[in-house]
């Protein structure tokens, strides 16, 4: 029943629709989905919110697995459900803002990996400002590494807790935070049916490595970088999101020229870039298609 209610295509669509383009339908749909999900999860004890100063985002800690098993890694996620019009930020927030920060408190022997950032949206508020982040909803997945032996004597199971801090903005920005926790029992690792689809769909929004045989390289010119991606079919639409701040001018229009095997994209250099860079790292998002991880060696101009 839950899987029918959880129409995640809509969720994905909503995430990919640029600012101003979302409709009430998606938001209303997602809200009810989130609500059902939330009540089901709370009932089973998978999520528990203990303290929260969140007014413009509802945030929950979710696990992809219902049980834990020695040596088997877990996948957890911080699920943000944002008030319409409000957004949070990508790892490189762009010209303003700040990405969410997580501080984990895990049972002995467990460790948390890095946030797996879904593909961002570009949000341009003026001629000199463009930010990168998420509207409506985002699941920030984090791998949790389990030790080979688990000592679980507690009846409630092992406690996984996270202190999340994030900045949420509309016209104004508000720092919010929440302390979240969940308890897991040991047992055979099983997927949690209530969160499976949410995680599976969030996975589809993660940038992937470029297919074998594809190549990305960049040429440093006087005031811009020419990023060339080649190896596949012509790319007619794409947006480049830089991972390192201060390399490209975020609000500058990116001009894309499709080639036989890919595309050439002109990226204006940032005013803050005073040195040569050797590599241009980022994510190339093809609307309606995949998002590729880009690590393009930069060719310097011939002196």
């Amino acid at each position: 029943m839950l899987s029918t209610a959880l129409n995640v295509t809509d969720v994905a669509k909503a995430i990919c629709i640029p600012e101003g383009g979302t409709t009430g339908y998606y938001i209303a749909g997602m809200k009810s989905v989130a609500l059902i999900l939330y009540s089901v999860l709370s009932f089973f004890g998978y999520i528990q919110k203990i303290e929260s100063a969140a007014r413009h985002a509802r945030v929950e800690l979710l696990s992809r697995q219902t049980t834990l098993h020695p040596g088997a890694n877990l996948q957890m996620g911080i699920h943000f459900i944002l008030e319409p019009g409000w957004h949070i930020y990508w790892i490189n927030p762009g010209d303003s803002g700040q990405p969410p920060v997580l501080k984990w408190q895990l049972p002995p022997g467990f460790s948390a990996g890095e946030i797996q950032w879904p593909r961002p949206e570009r949000m341009q508020s003026s001629a000199e400002l463009a930010d990168y982040g998420y509207h409506d909803e985002a699941l920030l997945m984090v791998p949790i590494h389990a030790p080979p032996f688990i000592n679980n004597e507690r009846l409630r199971g092992l406690r996984f807790a996270v202190e999340a801090k994030w900045l949420v903005c509309r016209e104004v920005c508000i720092p919010e935070h929440a302390s979240l926790e969940l308890f897991l029992q040991s047992g055979a690792t099983k997927e949690n049916p209530a969160t499976a689809k949410l995680f599976a769909d969030a996975e589809k929004l993660l940038p992937i490595a470029m297919p074998r045989g594809w190549k990305a390289e960049a040429e440093s010119r006087k005031s811009d970088f020419l990023l060339t991606v080649a190896g596949g079919k012509p790319i007619t639409k794409a947006i480049f999101f830089p991972l390192d701040p201060g390399q490209i001018d975020n609000p500058a229009p990116q001009s894309l020229q499709a080639t036989t095997h890919g595309a050439k994209i002109t990226l204006k250099k940032s005013d803050l870039l005073l040195k040569q860079i050797n590599v241009l790292r980022g994510v190339l998002v093809i609307p309606g298609g995949p998002a590729y991880q880009i690590e393009a060696p930069v060719r310097q101009p011939i002196q």
Binding site: D95, S96, G97, Q98, S125, S126, A127, E128, L129, D131, L167, C169, E171, V172, C173, I174, P175, P245, G246, D249, P251, A252, P253, K268, D271, L272, L273, L274
Partner: protein, 203 residues
């Protein structure tokens, strides 16, 4: 019939071009300006030739600005450097109806309450000074040397958060740049990514 959206997009692209043509780059002459301060006095950049000038983009409602004012960090910097002859110009580019917009008298009250000590506060609700320098965030800091060259463009410090507790362990880029410059050394970190709220420009 073409939608007016195309025209708007074109206008935006042109604006972006214009903005980039005038943006302030480290090592190049800082763009000159005339602006009215919160006491109604005209302030010209050229009036301060021969002095170091700090520009501080400000929005009193922004959590990142609050971090540095409620902790007294910004006021400390203002007092320390103006005492050494540096000119400190706070700039407010929030458009009317947006966060941080204040009337001159509201601003003067704020300065008194906060015990702030800039040389002057430039009222820029039209955003032209902000656009001229490409100011992106509050705070966003610029330093101009006595010859009129831009020597710093970026963040106030190296902890891009809104937590006051981070200030103690932060490297203050503005202080570091002024210290280096005033002792005849080149600024070792002349451009950093500014952090904070977006400047609330008029659309």
């Amino acid at each position: 019939m073409k939608s007016p959206r195309h025209l708007i997009l074109l206008a935006c692209a042109l604006l972006a071009l214009l903005a980039s043509a005038f943006a302030a780059r480290v090592g190049e002459p800082a763009p000159g300006f005339t602006a009215v301060d919160s006491n109604g006095k005209q302030q010209r950049l050229s009036d301060y030739k021969g002095k170091y000038v700090v520009l501080e983009w400000h929005n009193q409602g922004c959590p990142y600005t609050k971090k540095h004012y409620e902790s007294g960090n910004m006021q400390r910097l203002q007092k320390e450097w103006t005492a050494k002859g540096v000119v400190w110009l706070t700039v407010i580019s929030s458009a009317q109806g947006t966060q941080g917009f204040v009337t001159p008298s509201q601003e003067n009250d704020y300065l008194k309450t906060m015990n702030a000590a800039p040389t002057a506060v430039l009222m820029d609700p039209g955003g032209s000074l902000g656009h001229l320098y490409g100011a992106k965030t509050t705070p966003h800091m610029f330093i101009i040397d006595p010859k009129g060259t831009l020597i710093y463009n970026g963040a106030i410090d190296d902890h891009p958060t809104s937590d006051q507790s981070d200030i103690a362990s932060s490297k203050n880029y503005v202080s570091a740049a002024l210290q280096e410059a005033t002792s005849g050394k080149p600024v070792s970190e002349p451009a950093t990514r500014p952090y904070g709220c977006s400047v609330k420009y008029k659309d």
